[in-house]
Amino acid sequence: MKEPEKRREFHLTFRVLTSHSALTDFLASQNISANRIREDAEARRNAANASNAQSAGAGPSSTAANGDAAQVAEAEEAAQVATAADKAAEKKRKSQAAAIDKIKKSKAFKKRKRQDEDSDSDGIAEAILAGRAAPLPGQMENCEICDKRFTVTPYSRAGPNGGLLCNKCGKELAQDNKDEKAQKKKKVAARGTARRQVASNRLDGVIGCKSLMTMCISTLVNNIDLADDLGDLPDQIVDRVARQVAKRRILTPMSLNLFLQSGYENVTVYDSARLGSDDLIRIFQMVPKLKNLKLKNAIQFKDEVMNYLITRKTPLNSLYLHGANLVSEEAWKQFLVAKGKQLASLRVYFTDKHVGDNFTATLKETCPALKRLKIAHNQQVTDVGIGHISELHELEHLSIQLITPTSTEPYVKVINKIGKTLQTLSLTGESIADLDDRVLDAIHENCTSLRKLRITHSEVMTDAGFVRLFKNWVNKPLTFIDFEKCRHVDSSKPRENAHLNGLCSDGFRALMSHSGKSLKKLNVHACRHISREAFEDVFSLDKEYPELENMEISFCEEVTDFVVGCIFRTCPKLKNLNVFGCMKLKEVRVPKGRILVGMPNAMGMEIEGTED
């Protein structure tokens, strides 16, 4: 009776054993575990054994021949069978517990646990285990969505309720998910761009609604290719369009035509980098009445352009050339000889060779009517060249920014000779680092009609000099003052300033008491020896600076929250305040409509006014 059973058992074992190499691999590739088959078989075998034992036990008891002994044997056998069944169950439980433990450690579990915190952790693990027990590849299953029968493959997707999906429904679901993700990503990107745009607008001083004109101009510039002609827009709008076009770097030989109308007197090209010499010559051909010409990045403004200009009868009286480094000294001279008489304004930026001392020397003879002269980023003009400027008696606006170091004397000479009529005096750049208080004294003595004063990067001028300049100065209050980086620098003793070099507390007090009434723009960037007391005095609440719109106090170390608060209260028109590097600022309340740039906090560049 036990014979066939034994054979079957042998047979089964044999099958399992022989299948181990090739078949197991195949099954494993199909996600079927040989182990599991073996366990199932074992469980079946145990169950069969148990039933056999029962029937076998029934046999001897019916004969009742062996009496007690047989009963004992039967009981023992039953117990044995029971322990075998128990063992199998135990094993199963253990393996399940092990699987659950493993699941509990897995990522998927942790994720689900996070999703619903309060549910029982064993429950989740069991659910995952049950999910794993879903139909295996190769089996047939009903699709969860369309209910069609389909063959499960390793690539079958799980449906929203945990069942499997047929190929078609799975694809559709995947597509939906993809779209959703793409949309999300896009949204995030859009939000990022918008935030950057808002920050950029704030730095430009734009809060809230843009004006209709601003929006029209940006639309126009976006579609600049469609425009044939700007019509008869007023000059200041043409200028705004030109600025926007340059900002987007779309000023090409094509779009240049928009700004060249025969009736124009002003041509401003803020970015000529993409224009060739021929395009620049075209300006003089198409705009015969040209009076004011302003070209930035005019790299291709060469001798041939200058020579063409000389031959024309263009009534030019203002020339602004930026980056025209290829015009030779000879061509400059010819230009000044031919056109100098009518020239009232001459501004030359970024030249390294051909605008030098000879250039300034010829100005006296060739440009008797020159009112405005600016030489910036220049490498050739020296003390001698500056001396020549003192001969230009009509000059009202003078700006110098050189590279080669210069000394005090020529500047004093210039100020002594022509200071009386000067309205603008701007001395900037590293080349004036050694200028001393004599320049300030000369300004105090001679200048009576200044409105704009800029002296930067001076490390030798002293606080006392600035006090002498502003104290009892007959000049009317200024509207623009810039003393950027007039401060003492010593890397070994950064806080000490024994001789009070640069603009310090008393100079600042004197400045504000002289010019505070009409000052529109003030820059004391990095004048770091102005004390907190001086700021508090100057901006104490009984004072008012009614015109001040723009102020730069970056890197003034002593500026505190209180000082900034006082500044906003005492300057009703103040729109923009820069406070980069004022590390004592913690939390400033900004009145509505004002812009504070450069707060040293992680929130970003700026806090915009919200307080009333």
Partner: protein
């Protein structure tokens, strides 16, 4: 452009006969119209342009308290005429 006294609204009439009824407070953004609201004045712009101008009045009125405002949509073909209108009406200032 004509005006209706007493009312909360102002009627702006374009030179080709379109009429726009606009909230009086909203048109005050334009110093030009503000001065015209008292005195009768003749037509200046075609309806299409006027429509956009009026749209801007309301756009401005709706968003005047806000900080982060999306731009108004301006059709490219109208923008030159609209620019002239904006200049004429003094709509070049913020706020």
């Amino acid at each position: 452009m004509a005006e209706e006294e007493v009312s909360k609204y102002v009627t702006l009439i374009s030179n080709d006969g379109f009429e726009f009824v606009v909230l009086r407070e909203a048109v005050l953004i334009s110093p030009m119209i503000k001065s015209m609201v008292d005195a009768k004045s003749e037509d200046h712009f075609p309806g299409q342009v006027m429509e956009k101008v009026v749209e801007y009045f309301h756009y401005w009125y709706k968003n005047r308290e806000k900080e982060d405002v999306p731009d108004m949509d301006i059709p490219a073909e109208l923008c030159l005429e609209l620019l002239v209108a904006a200049d004429f009406l003094g709509l070049d200032k913020q706020t």
